[in-house]
């Protein structure tokens, strides 16, 4: 298992792929604060240069920075993470490295777990660096930063990442090529995103709520009882998807 993790880490570290999530996380974090802080100023400048003087824009608050952070991360970072994930999960098959790997005494759950762990590690480290950038910028530009609520919201986002990584892995072992699993994962992603607008009845418990919960936590607008069900269901679903991926992998040709 340790060797597999090292093998998968080399995939990130010996190629420029580790730069992608890191650069994106830092960029989105900085952009979220900067755009929240200066968007109105920019808009006012543009409107005045167009001769429109009597427009009053609402004052900017720190909440706008949080909103932009999570929107950007759900819409962009997660998408890029899925691209990276599907590539990591399928490249051993599409490049025929499996004849080297599975000729060795490897266990299929270890093989899958290693890939998930390494991808999550790469994403987590990138997000933590982005977190620090975001915290510093927010504190500097708005004079405040809600550390504890943000940490809670951050881990809800991480739960969503874990779930989508497992969806990507399931489709990857099913198809073993890049395009089909990517498209199917994106379909699931957009489907779940669209469910996020419903929060009544059963929808309140679905992992689709993971899109709404982070902001609600920061706004102090949610109770633990509302946060836990979608988070727990997402984690349980991730575990089920992992075991399903393993069963599929064992049943399909490994080359």
């Amino acid at each position: 298992m340790k060797t597999l993790v090292k093998y998968d880490l080399y995939y990130f570290l010996k190629t420029p792929k580790w730069v992608i999530p890191l650069a994106l996380a830092v960029f989105l974090s900085a952009l979220s604060v900067l755009s929240a802080r200066y968007m109105n100023t920019l808009l006012e400048y543009v409107l005045r240069s167009e001769g429109i003087e009597d427009v009053t824009l609402p004052p900017v608050t720190v909440m706008e920075a949080y909103r932009q952070y999570f929107t950007n991360h759900f819409q962009l970072f997660l998408l890029v993470a899925l691209f990276l994930g599907v590539h990591l999960f399928t490249h051993d098959f599409s490049r025929h490295h499996t004849t080297f790997l599975f000729a060795k005494p490897l266990r299929t759950p270890h093989y899958l777990l290693s890939k998930s762990l390494v991808l999550m590690l790469a994403l987590f480290v990138s997000l933590v660096v982005g977190f620090v950038v975001f915290a510093c910028y927010t504190h500097f530009l708005f004079g405040e930063f809600a550390l504890l609520p943000f940490i809670g919201a951050f881990f809800v986002f991480i739960t969503a990442v874990i779930l989508y990584v497992q969806v990507a892995q399931l489709f990857s072992v099913l198809f073993k090529q890049f395009l089909a699993p990517l498209l199917l994962t994106l379909v699931v992603f957009f489907l779940f995103s669209s469910f996020a607008m419903f929060d009544a009845g059963i929808f309140a418990f679905l992992p689709s709520q993971l899109f709404n919960i982070p902001l609600a936590i920061i706004e102090g607008d949610t109770a633990l009882g509302e946060v836990l069900p979608p988070v727990v269901i997402a984690l349980v679903l991730s575990i089920i998807l992992f075991f399903a991926s393993n069963e599929i992998l064992k049943r399909r040709p490994l080359v």
């Binding site: 340790k2 060797t3 090292k6 093998y7 080399y10 995939y11 010996k14 190629t15 490049r95 025929h96 490295h97 499996t98 004849t99 080297f100 790997l101 599975f102 000729a103 060795k104 005494p105 490897l106 266990r107 299929t108 064992k250 049943r251 040709p253 490994l254 080359v255």
Partner: protein
């Protein structure tokens, strides 16, 4: 002593029966040439042997023990060399071998064993990444990683088929150097390669083993003799006149005349008699050892009949 025994292996892909009850046995310290045409079932057999594919029926017995699907302990005792080896291009050969050693659980003298394998495959001084390797170098690296861990059995799936003549020679030389030290199951459709390295041959066609025999006996078993005949007639014309004879299995134009592959008792006398009945001058009538290819074609013809 039998190291590997495959019994009645069956595999179908939908309606296509790739293996129809393959049985073979590989003795310890021999090179077993597993030969057959493309699509005969060689790679499917080896993929099942390596647990890359599930079997439909049959048994695989290695060192006296039946092997299950994805048996981890068994995989520590075998090495695999595919036809076109692929490794992560961003790693060096040394890193690949270190990973292979780690996967195999080699802790003691790991570095020495990796260096030894690199030296054996002639890659000790190569520092560049695998992505820049030639096909021959990649195949030698593949053999090196399969040798790690003192594997008892090397399974080679057409290791020379994708190589140029130089790469092919290098790989065959490596295999010859392993003779007597390791047991090798060597699959190929290049019969001259099998002839140059194998001790025993198993011939597979349409998912069935048609023949299994020691190399030295295979040509005797088929009661084949070959003669080179050179006359004043053009080779094609001579072939036309002789091809109708039932004791002549095959004719082939060669550099020094017409190669006649004969079968049956007294076939050479009957050939001489037939030649004397033709209006021609015989310049050359020389016996030649039939090749594995001749025996292979004869077995396939027999099976088709």
């Amino acid at each position: 002593m039998t190291l590997l025994r495959i019994e009645n292996l069956k595999k179908a892909f939908g309606d296509i029966h790739a293996l129809r009850g393959v049985s073979l046995s590989v003795e310890k310290n021999e090179i077993y040439g597993f030969i057959g045409r493309n699509g005969a079932g060689k790679t499917t057999t080896l993929n099942i042997l390596m647990s890359f594919l599930r079997k439909d029926a049959g048994r695989i017995i290695f060192a006296g023990e039946e092997i299950g699907f994805l048996d981890v302990a068994y995989k520590k005792k075998i090495g695999f060399v595919p036809d076109v080896p692929a490794f992560p291009p961003y790693l060096t050969g040394r890193e690949i071998l270190t990973f292979a050693a780690d996967f195999l659980g080699i802790h003691e003298n790991k570095r020495e064993k990796v260096e030894e394998a690199l030296a054996f495959s002639g890659l000790k001084d190569v520092r560049q990444k695998v992505g820049t390797y030639s096909r021959g170098m990649r195949q030698r690296l593949s053999i090196a990683q399969a040798l790690l861990g003192d594997s008892q059995l090397l399974v080679m799936d057409e290791p020379t088929s994708a190589l140029d003549p130089v790469g092919r020679r290098e790989v065959l030389d490596l295999i010859k150097r392993l003779k007597e030290e390791r047991t090798i199951l060597y699959s190929t459709h290049i019969l001259s390669d099998a002839e140059s390295v194998a001790d025993r041959i198993g011939l597979i066609d349409k998912g069935k083993i048609l023949l299994e025999s020691p190399m030295a006996e295979i040509k005797k078993t088929k009661d084949l003799t070959a003669y080179i005949v050179q006359t004043d007639l053009p080779v094609e014309e001579l072939a036309e006149k002789l091809e109708t004879e039932p004791f002549i299995k095959e004719t082939k134009a060669e550099e020094d005349g017409l190669l006649c592959l004969l079968s049956g008792e007294g076939a050479e006398k009957r050939l001489l008699s037939r030649l004397s009945g033709l209006d021609l001058t015989v310049y050359k009538f020389v016996e030649k050892t039939p090749s594995l290819e001749d025996a292979f074609v004869e077995v396939l013809h027999e099976n088709a009949r």
